[in-house]
């Protein structure tokens, strides 16, 4: 029980003192994850939509594949990206290893299956409802995709938030491709891992509490933004 109380105290002190390092770590965490989720959404939503709309051989396999990829272990993704970006690897010349960019790449790979799978699921349901009407209007596949994505936008937010949750909480991928370098690639989760490995459990837990709070705040913001959106554009 003491450890938990110490954790709260540690968290409180960190925030109250306006610790610069903490601020930098939080900003980097958000920078990396938000960028990764943004890219994954940009790429993944149309893919999920297209799978929902289309009918082709191997479609079911693709669905199963993306569903399975949702469970990709972050550390495995980290390893794969590391091998790709290593100087001895195919993309070594880009010199991206141990940079926030590498971390973003790894997290995009992690988040993409979630966005694709959830988008597909949501839009498939929507398509079932809209299909006959859209076909009656002779809408092209692209027009159908646009309608589904737009009309389903509030539902799709859930998929994006799920992706965000996964990325902000993972440590395996960013640790390997980022290197947890002080002032450069240290994010909340790798900082927590570091403090834990130094035996400073209270601090580690405190950082964890801060991470949780940030996640909570962002989810609340997303919810109220959705409410605002629904209020201003009827749905």
């Amino acid at each position: 029980m003491d450890a938990f109380i110490d954790a709260f105290t540690a968290a409180f002190h960190l925030i109250a003192s306006g610790d610069e390092d903490l601020a930098a770590i939080i900003v980097l965490s958000l920078k990396v994850t938000v960028t990764a989720v943004f890219i994954a959404a940009l790429v993944g939503m149309p893919i999920g939509g297209l799978i929902a709309l289309s009918d082709f051989r191997g479609r079911r396999f693709l669905i199963v594949l993306f569903n399975a990829l949702m469970g990709l272990p972050p550390v495995v993704v980290g390893l794969i990206v590391y091998l790709l970006l290593s100087r001895s690897g195919p993309f070594g010349v880009l010199n991206l290893l141990f940079t926030p960019t590498a971390m973003i790449i790894a997290q995009v790979i992690l988040v993409l299956p979630i966005v694709v799978a959830l988008t597909r699921q949501i839009l498939e349901a929507l398509w079932g409802e809209y299909r006959e009407t859209l076909e009656s209007f002779s809408a092209s596949p692209l027009q159908c995709l646009a309608v589904l994505l737009w009309d389903g936008r509030f539902l799709l937010v859930t998929g994006v938030l799920a992706g965000f949750g996964r990325a902000i909480a993972e440590v395996g991928a960013v640790m390997i491709v980022g290197g947890n370098i002080d002032q450069m690639t240290r994010v909340m989760t790798t900082a927590i891992a570091l403090e834990a490995s130094k035996g400073d459990l209270a601090l580690a837990l405190g950082l964890g509490l801060i991470l949780l709070s940030i996640s909570l705040i962002l989810n609340l913001l997303a919810q109220s933004l959705r409410a605002v959106g629904e209020r201003w554009s009827p749905v």
Partner: protein, 294 residues
Amino acid sequence: MVAALRLPGRGWLMSGERRPVGIVSLAVLTVLAGLILFGNGGSGRADSPVITVASTTSTQNSGLFDHILPLFKAETGITVRVVAVGTGAAIRLAKSGDADVLLVHHKPSEEAFVSEGFGEARHPVMVNDFVIVGPRDDPAGINSLGDVAAALKRIADSRSIFLSRGDESGTHKRERELWAAAGRDPEEASGTWYRKTGSGMGATLNIGAAMNGYTLADRGTWLSFGNKGDLVVLHEGDARLINEYGVILVSPDRHPHVDATPGRAFIDWLRSEQGQRAINSFSIGGERLFTAVQ
């Protein structure tokens, strides 16, 4: 069916008082977005030269780098990025050319690294020592012994819980050599009294503190470790517990992109008077962690 589509609580949203919530959320999100896009969190300074040093988690966790690197930067303006992983991983990083300098503590591996052409030359930098920590009540009774091999023999024979890092780190390799010296092979007992965590020093110590077992630890990590629990140092001082650190520049012949000049500057500084003084001045609770050897 249609009536059910009226969202519950929609009326709640329609009333004017709720508007502030939306505006506040929008404002906060905009501030956040601005912070994220323009905030300088962890982007690093691109103006000063930067080198990447592959080192070990134990060195990192001891806090040595936090102490000496700012001094190095103040003198030379060079920023050092330390990637701290296990010794094996650090060596692999250096072999792949993902680091400019290698700083680890396993002489045989380091010498092989150089002889295989991956490194320019090995230079000794500092030493510290390993200690055996264990539960205060010392069930295996190793405290009085002066010989580390005898201590390990006692631990094995009494089947006392022993935590091994089991991760091919410098510490782990040394531990294996000591077991050989003690004439015992604990591998067959893995999972019983001999437990391999496959983790870094800190994680292993966490587990050791929880299980109240013996562990071979480097003094640096031990002194700065914050979760000692009921563990204390029970054996130290044997000559075979001395831990030598060597620094090697990754060979520019092998990897032409290596930042050789600032890399060499770092190595030279470490071996210089200022560097050695910086190393010696690093202490925790009055106790010095590393001893410079130049």
